[in-house]
């Protein structure tokens, strides 16, 4: 708890120091140093406390209701880990990318200080959200955490798209916050107190009027933050617009706050109806499947990564759902594995997605674009970036030697448990969910192969890509740090998994003995998988050695890529983002939301043709845009009463006061 306090204080100090007017360079260094130091203190807080420890403090504050109650338990610690890890990496990478930024085109003077202030606010808000043990405190922290990214996303606010993306983010964040306000208000009126303990007690006593309504409010409110399917529309807008270290932070740490919130809400509401779990399973599978299919369709690297986040949060939601089904049905194995899979998946996602976004940021720096059609061949010019990207891509596709597979394995084991549930329908539903997870895995592989392959392999598609320059030492250090974390996590996956299991064991309503047995069994399975991974590594090393011996003996030479007899190939002939997904689009086009627009002369001597393949978010275009336009029109009608004449405004006030008095009388 002390280290946690130190970390918060360092974030605050860093944020304030960045605001002191001493020029952009100093602000950049001070703000980043605060974020880095705070994150390292947060890491110390994680490493120095035993995994199952509980800690709580209540500090005085001046507000009439609520209390500044902070606490750390296993779940909080695990959800804080991504914040600290990514905070450190993103602070360094961000400082490197913003250095010298104040002069050229981008943000003006003094903006870097504000940027670092809000970055530190985001980190502090995230930390407070995970530690809050009181509804009012939680909502305040949630608001800090939700508001800071608005200013971070709008860093390049001279561009229209960036301003729009920031607005979309703000609207989504606050529509979610409204649901949360309603959730906690209803809870408060039933419980009469705001502390989480009191709320849980009220739920356990059956004093809640409609717990299912509360559950739905929590699902909508936290789901908007996590980016579950109907509420995901802000993700693909905000991530490409924000600076890359901010995208990494948002995608790696902030959206997992949604999962954390759902976790807490499930704890507070206590064992409820089984359909809560089924609802989460349904939302999770739909988010995972549609998220990755739309991701596969994207031609913009950052949008692709954003949709992949929708997929990963969907899988975490699926895990939570399995936890709730298991808890409601007394199936501790399924509950423990599902919950552990969810939190382990969130931690994995943070490391992988953080690294992927930082790599995308280096690509943006080096080439000036993240459209896959403008990239290519970067692996040779930026070897550290390319290697890190391919490593993280392998991890996020859930492939075996890395820890991503362990998370998917836990989810799959929980789903397999469902094959032996009572009743035909639940069994078939679980099997269908597992089949969807398998398909999602395959599509994730295709999407990440597309991203990594088209950006970093092959020939450069534009002159800018051919002249790309590698990042500086600080940015490289941030990438290598995260890559190192991924490799260490791969080696110690079973140990980390049983650490994550502590959070599931602390989940109220589970019988600890069978849950512990299930986790021990799963850890043993992961150890076996680790041995296969070791065999894989050894085999690769052996084959590399053999290949080196053979090529040394028989020679190796370089020739142009074989063009099937055609001697004048150009780089435009390479497979691009549109052509790569063409086979998928023929089958899954509607689900992927791909639009092809072909402009072709139909005459006998056709002139130049034009083909544009795009993948706009169908849901945003067909549901949200019309909806908000209608709301905007309705609000326009109110302009009649808003005309700028002050004396009339005073009349409104007077009329309101009189009416209120009359009503009271």
């Amino acid at each position: 708890m002390e280290w946690f306090g130190i970390s918060l204080a360092l974030y605050a100090l860093g944020g304030l120091a960045a605001l002191c007017p001493r020029g952009d360079g100093a602000a950049n260094i001070l703000g980043a140093a605060g974020a880095l130091a705070g994150s390292l203190a947060g890491l110390a807080a994680f490493c120095l406390a035993p995994a199952s420890a509980q800690a709580q403090v209540v500090l005085p504050w001046g507000l009439p209701i609520g209390a500044l109650a902070l606490g750390l338990d296993p779940a909080s610690r695990l959800f804080l880990l991504p914040v600290s890890l990514l905070g450190a990496a993103c602070a360094v990478s961000g400082a490197a990318s913003l250095a010298g930024h104040g002069h050229d085109g981008g943000g003006g003077h003094g903006r870097i200080g504000a940027h670092w202030f809000f970055f530190n606010m985001l980190l502090a808000g995230l930390s407070l959200v995970m530690a809050a043990r009181d509804a009012v405190c939680f909502l305040l922290a949630w608001e800090i955490m939700s508001l800071a990214p608005f200013f971070l996303i709008g860093f390049h606010d001279e561009e229209v798209e960036v301003r729009e993306a920031a607005w979309v983010y703000l609207v989504a964040a606050h529509l979610g916050a409204v649901c949360l306000l309603a959730f906690f208000s209803l809870f408060f009126t039933a419980a009469g107190a705001t502390g989480f303990d009191a709320l849980a007690l009220a739920a356990a006593d059956g004093r809640l009027g409609a717990p299912s309504l509360l559950f739905l409010l929590a699902l909508a409110g936290f789901g908007a933050k996590a980016g579950f399917y109907p509420f995901h529309v802000w993700l693909p807008e905000a991530h490409p617009a924000a600076p890359s270290h901010v995208s990494a932070m948002l995608s790696g740490a902030m959206i997992s706050a949604g999962i954390y919130g759902l976790w807490r809400a499930a704890e507070l509401l206590g064992p409820g109806a089984a359909w809560w779990g089924w609802a989460l399973v349904a939302v999770g599978t739909v988010s995972a499947a549609l998220g990755i299919l739309q991701g596969l369709a994207q031609a913009n690297l950052k949008r692709l990564l954003a949709y992949s986040s929708v997929e990963n949060m969907g899988l975490a939601c699926l895990g939570l759902g399995l936890g709730l089904i298991g808890r409601a049905g007394g199936n501790e194995t399924m509950a423990a594995l599902g919950l552990t899979g969810a939190v382990f998946g969130v931690c994995n996602h943070a490391a992988f997605k953080g690294l992927l976004f930082l790599c995308a940021g280096e690509v943006l720096h080096a080439v000036g674009s993240v459209r896959l059609g403008h990239l290519g061949g970067l692996g040779k010019r930026l070897p550290v970036v390319g290697g890190s990207f391919l490593l993280a891509a392998t991890g996020i596709a859930g492939l075996p030697p890395l820890a991503g597979f362990a998370g998917e394995m836990a989810l799959a084991l929980a789903l397999l448990e469902g094959l032996f549930l009572p009743g035909l329908l639940p069994r078939v539903a679980m099997a269908a969910a597992l089949a969807v997870v398998a398909g999602v895995g395959g599509c994730a592989l295709a999407a990440l192969a597309k991203a990594g392959g088209l950006a970093f392999l092959g020939e450069p598609r534009t002159p800018a890509a051919a002249k790309a320059l590698p990042p500086g030492p600080a940015a490289r250090a941030a990438l290598l740090f995260l890559a190192g974390v991924i490799l260490v996590a791969a080696v110690f996956a079973p140990a980390l998994f049983s650490l994550a299991g502590q959070a599931a064991l602390a989940f109220p309503g589970l019988d600890p003995a069978p849950a512990r047995a299930a986790l021990a069994e799963a850890t043993a399975i992961l150890a076996a998988i680790g041995r296969v991974g070791l065999a894989l590594a050894a085999l690769v090393a052996l084959l590399l050695f053999l290949r080196r011996r053979l090529t040394a003996a028989h020679g190796s030479r370089r020739e142009p890529t074989w063009g099937c007899g055609y001697l004048a190939p150009t780089t435009r002939m390479q497979y691009g983002p549109g052509s790569f997904v063409e086979p998928a689009a023929r089958v899954l086009g509607p689900a992927m939301g791909l639009k092809a627009h072909l402009d072709m002369d139909t005459g006998y001597f056709p002139a130049r043709a034009r083909l544009v393949v795009s993948a706009p978010d169908r849901l945003r275009l067909s549901v949200f845009t019309p909806l908000f336009e209608a709301v905007g029109k309705a609000c326009d009608a109110l302009k009649v009463v808003q005309h700028g004449r002050v004396h009339l405004y005073i009349l409104y006030v007077l009329a309101t006061v009189v009416l209120l008095l009359a009503w009271k009388l």
Partner: protein
């Protein structure tokens, strides 16, 4: 002991399977055909050759085949023998097998994209998509076996079944696994492994720029993958228990031969499907295996 035996058998005999398939095709077509051991000769020739690497390519192009071969070979660790458990067996190990095959595929796809050739990009994109479509079907096959046998590991679900009436999963799953064998190994109704240009659009076209030991790794890896799928199909067909270990191995060997011959016969009798038809084929397979799953869950 038996487990290690299967591993060694697979490593040694896998290149024989493509030889059998080719011999069957040749005989049906009225030709004498290549020697049965042709794949061994090819491998021996390839490892003694130098390597030609594309100027465009980076380290990925030669690391790909190595990772791919290593991943498939590790997949063999999870494959049980007839009536004997695999060297590594645990609940849900079929996931590891499927994802190891996925790793092998990713490595080859990236190696293909690394050459910057449009042909190889085409193969890579098709391989990625068709395999993504085949993955749920494969999982449903395993789930159907899980639900039917009550075991969550390949070694228990493929153990010799008890005598009794033919169950749904024993009826449909071998057929579906055979279809998946054709899809995943790029055999004829899906892809033509014998041509190198316009008619071959998936696996062979991805490795056009590999040569020497790298190509040997690709060829050997493909043979091992074919072995894995043949063995899975054969194991689901291995008949009722009560066989001595020797007889079980004999039956298994015979069934492997049958599956290989069946692949050859299918390749002789059919033309390559239009690519658009492949997802439809997988859709039918998926529907059939879903039916089998529901039937086996129902019991």
């Amino acid at each position: 002991m038996h487990a290690a035996l299967h591993l060694l058998l697979a490593l040694a005999l896998a290149p024989l399977v493509p030889g059998i398939v080719n011999r069957v095709k040749a005989r049906v077509g009225g030709r004498a055909g290549k020697p049965l051991l042709q794949t061994y000769f090819d491998l021996a020739k390839l490892v003694r050759k130098g390597v030609v690497i594309s100027e465009t390519a980076s380290w990925v192009v030669w690391a790909g085949p190595i990772v791919s071969l290593a991943a498939v070979a590790c997949g063999l660790l999870l494959l049980p023998g007839p009536g004997t458990p695999a060297p590594v067996a645990f609940g849900g190990d079929f996931l590891l097998l499927a994802y190891l095959l996925g790793l092998s595929r990713l490595a080859l796809v990236l190696a293909a994209l690394d050459t910057g050739s449009s042909f190889e990009g085409m193969g890579a994109s098709r391989e990625a998509v068709f395999s993504a479509l085949a993955e749920p079907v494969l999982f449903l096959c395993f789930l159907s076996l899980c639900a039917g046998s009550g075991g969550l590991s390949l070694s228990t679900m493929l153990a010799l079944p008890s005598p009794g009436p033919v169950t749904a999963e024993r009826l449909f799953v071998p057929v579906i696994l055979f279809v998946l064998l054709l899809v995943e190994n790029c055999r004829i109704p899906v892809d033509d492994p014998n041509t190198h240009l316009e008619l071959t659009m998936i696996h062979e076209v991805m490795v056009l720029d590999h040569s020497g030991p790298d190509l040997a790794a690709v060829v050997y890896g493909a043979a091992l993958k074919l072995w894995i799928f043949c063995a899975l199909t054969a194991l689901t067909l291995t008949p009722a228990s009560g066989l001595s270990p020797l007889a079980a191995w004999g039956v298994f060997g015979g069934l492997m031969l049958v599956v290989a011959v069946a692949v050859g016969l299918v390749e002789s009798a059919m033309a390559r499907l239009r690519l658009l038809r492949v997802p439809r084929l997988l859709g039918w397979a998926g529907a059939l295996v879903a039916l089998s799953l529901v039937l086996s869950v129902w019991r």
